[in-house]
Symmetry: C2
Subunit: 481 residues, 2 copies
């Protein structure tokens, strides 16, 4: 077959090989299948997986243009020694590849385009009825969010007592789940939703474990945990918009030790040739984010926002993805007024972190709270988050925390060139600033709640005293002329 | 002379003996004068002071009813060996004596009546022109405050560049002050204002040192510092409404060491037979409030309100007397919206501390900012502070931090009997509570900003789920039936 006739797979797209194989016994754990993918001196090994009904699959994401060949390795003759070729071609428009850490504390897509995470949280939306999932996707399409946090496992918690649409594992004896038999129907559904999120430009921060459980998923045991992780990685690592979030509130999963989390990270790292982002989300105490397998911080904090210190201490991007949700559900983590959520997000963004912590927890007659089930956004924060995103995406990439604002105004910027100062709850009617000498600046007052940008007019240099509107939630954008 | 003819001095009132003495040299430092006051087996020694123009004074506050006698001791013949008697009689109405620590972490007047500090801050009001001081006193009269923080020394700082009405020390060579010669005119004026505050029921937290200085008061040297303290204590310890605040922002007085502060505390302790309250106010780091001469914490914090921990750690009353002021002056410490100040004060009050941190810093065309110069109150917080004071003064005395509210609502109360829960910025529309078993309770919703109290109606017991208004700044008052 000539080069022209080779199957074409776009860069950061997905090659999939489907093979027929044994159905007897428990193919999920009794059959091994791997693929070796080669391009010149680059060789990548991936695990395959059993998709039920005698179907075995190998998925692979090529990250270099040109001709790739592959062969399969299996302990079953019918799956072993299969080989073939394909050609990796330019990615289609809108496919920027997976998100990477860039310059230690920032993010970018694999093709180099900047990525500024602005995220929301719907823990169990993929477990709700189809029509609700459609509503959620419809809502996400119109939303400012380019990241979402969601769990593989269903959730048992306040306002979340319903059974899932599909279970990630098949039914076993009695009411128990069989943790040696994943449910392909669930995973095909998950993959479809991952793909649809991808089409909306949304990264899925996929939560692999969480403590809010009545089915046993939080306590499957080491062997089942490890096999589950390999299965998920084999199925999903070829989706460009997946991030691995090892847990929601890992420190509440009392059955698991630090050694378990370390091992989980390593399993993912070894089995994911794409190197998707890896993090672990705390309730109270941080996991040691210095460990080499952690790509970025995934922080819950309801009161402390020492983002600049964390960024310094760990030398990694700081994503604050939980800081209290907009709502009124009667819990401290779910009763924030929208102004307070927006304040926290701006604070995070102007101290060198990423404000990916939206969620809504308004009481609902049908218990459809966005933070868990999706549905409709009801809050006042999303449009202000769109405004925040616009401000930060128009700013130069790779802002750093700056001292320009003094102790009482946080600031992120590019020294001498550009600054975003934020005053939070304060209502200053004036501000003294020492602008870097030798340059002239234009200054705009941003009302982060009112979503307006007003130039102060003229140019400023040296030590200045600015007149300000004297109301809360103001920021300044200072741009070198 | 018969018992009936003895001069009558009310308990916690002031006995004063005036004597003529030498004028030559520097009587402030060259003449010693003491008084011994005796009643049965109680003997109290106090220092006298020179009041200028050949006048020497001894002041003493009797704290036991009945006949007291005294004699003077001096190194000058004309001041030595004078003696006399007076009778200590019941205090007049409204004289409750000095405020003391009560039950480790609370306050009460010497006569046992409860004292709940609700304070404001006017650092340099006694240094402004007379008409402005009158305005300040007029305003205080209508205010909710029963405590004020003010400095002995004038202040040099933003919005505070004017010369003081009177200097605490006399003019020396050239432009320098002579730190060996206090200015009696200043102190007589200070005493008059202390007395007038006393008539308004206001405790004066008198700040003895502070860093904002252009006259040399912050760096007088050890000898002058010590003499100054003895002079102030000799003059003022007989005023029942004085508290000794060793410093405002002691940690910014770089010339003084911990050993200096320790020594200052000891000098005051040794020379003040009344035992007025003693504290030291921080900018950043706390002084070690465990030291035995510290009677209570005087805390500045702009962001951290670990009041319950501090109360536990030091076992002393926690007075938060600076947490940012209501205003718009462009500094983080002086640009709080009134809602945020009120939130902080309620937070302090419902975690076991005392909310004595009012101050106003609105820009003014004449630079008359209440926080420093007094004048008119312009803010929206004072009437909410009056409301807070009313709520807490009506509550049982000696509230303790309680766990009833969970991590997400602070609570102070008397276990099983009474609770005040506070939700802060949160806007819960419901709240689950486990009320102590075996009792019935009435519950009222307090809008701490709107200043309303609405009964939920009926009685509650055991585990309850309450419907709430779903707006910020709500509290609950829970009273056992």
């Amino acid at each position: 077959m000539s080069a022209e006739e080779l199957k074409k797979i776009e860069k950061w797209g997905r090659f999939e090989l489907e093979l027929d194989g044994p159905r007897e016994g428990n193919p999920y754990r009794e059959v091994s299948l791997k693929g070796k993918f080669r391009r010149k001196n680059r060789e990548v090994e991936v695990e395959g997986f059993y998709d039920g009904d005698g179907s075995y699959k190998l998925r692979f994401t090529p990250d270099r243009l040109g001709k790739w060949c592959y062969e399969t390795i299996s302990d079953r003759e019918e799956l072993d020694g299969r080989w073939g070729k394909f050609r990796c071609v330019e990615p289609s428009e809108g496919n920027h590849g997976p998100v990477r850490v860039e310059d230690k504390v920032h993010f970018a897509y694999a093709d180099g385009s900047p990525y500024y995470p602005v995220g929301t949280t719907c823990y169990a939306w993929i477990h709700q009825k189809e029509s609700l999932q459609e509503e959620t996707l419809e809502e996400l399409k119109e939303s400012p969010f380019n990241k979402i946090r969601s769990c593989v496992f269903p959730k048992h918690y306040a306002f979340n007592k319903n059974e899932p649409l599909y279970h990630p594992f098949q039914k076993g004896e009695g009411e128990e789940r069989d943790f040696s038999r994943p449910n392909p129907e669930f995973f095909r559904h998950l993959e479809e939703q991952v793909e649809r999120l991808g089409e909306l430009g949304i990264q899925l921060d996929l939560i692999l474990f969480h403590p809010y459980d009545r089915w046993g998923y939080a306590e499957m045991g080491k062997e089942a945990d490890d096999r589950y992780l390999r299965y998920v990685v084999a199925r999903l690592n070829s989706y460009h918009n997946v991030w691995w979030s090892l847990a929601n509130e890992y420190d509440l999963l009392e059955e698991k030790s630090t050694a378990d989390w370390d091992r989980f990270f390593k399993i993912i790292q070894e089995n994911d040739p794409v190197g998707h982002l890896r993090s672990i989300h705390n309730c109270r105490e941080f996991y040691d984010h210095n460990k080499p397998w952690v790509t970025h911080l995934s922080v819950q904090s309801q009161d402390k926002f020492d983002v600049t210190d964390w960024r310094e201490e760990y030398g990694k991007p700081v994503v604050v993805d939980e800081c209290g949700y907009e709502g009124n559900n009667g819990y401290g983590w779910g009763s924030l007024p929208p102004k307070e959520l927006i304040r926290r997000l701006w604070k995070v963004a102007t101290t060198g972190g990423f404000p990916a912590a939206h969620g809504e927890t308004y009481l609902d007659p049908d218990d459809v709270l966005w933070w868990s089930k999706g549905g409709k956004l009801k809050g006042e924060s999303p449009k202000r988050i769109a405004f925040l995103r616009e401000i930060f995406e128009r700013a130069p990439a790779k802002l750093k925390p700056c001292a320009l604002g003094g102790w009482d105004a946080s600031a992120a910027g590019i020294e001498e060139d550009f600054y975003l100062l934020y005053f939070g709850i304060d209502q200053p009617a004036r501000k003294e600033l020492d602008l870097p000498s030798g340059h002239r600046y234009e200054i705009e007052v941003i009302d982060t709640w009112g979503m307006t940008v007003d130039p102060l007019g003229g140019e400023f240099s040296g030590s200045v005293e600015l007149g300000l509107p004297g109301k809360p939630y103001q920021a300044l954008r200072i741009t070198r002329v």
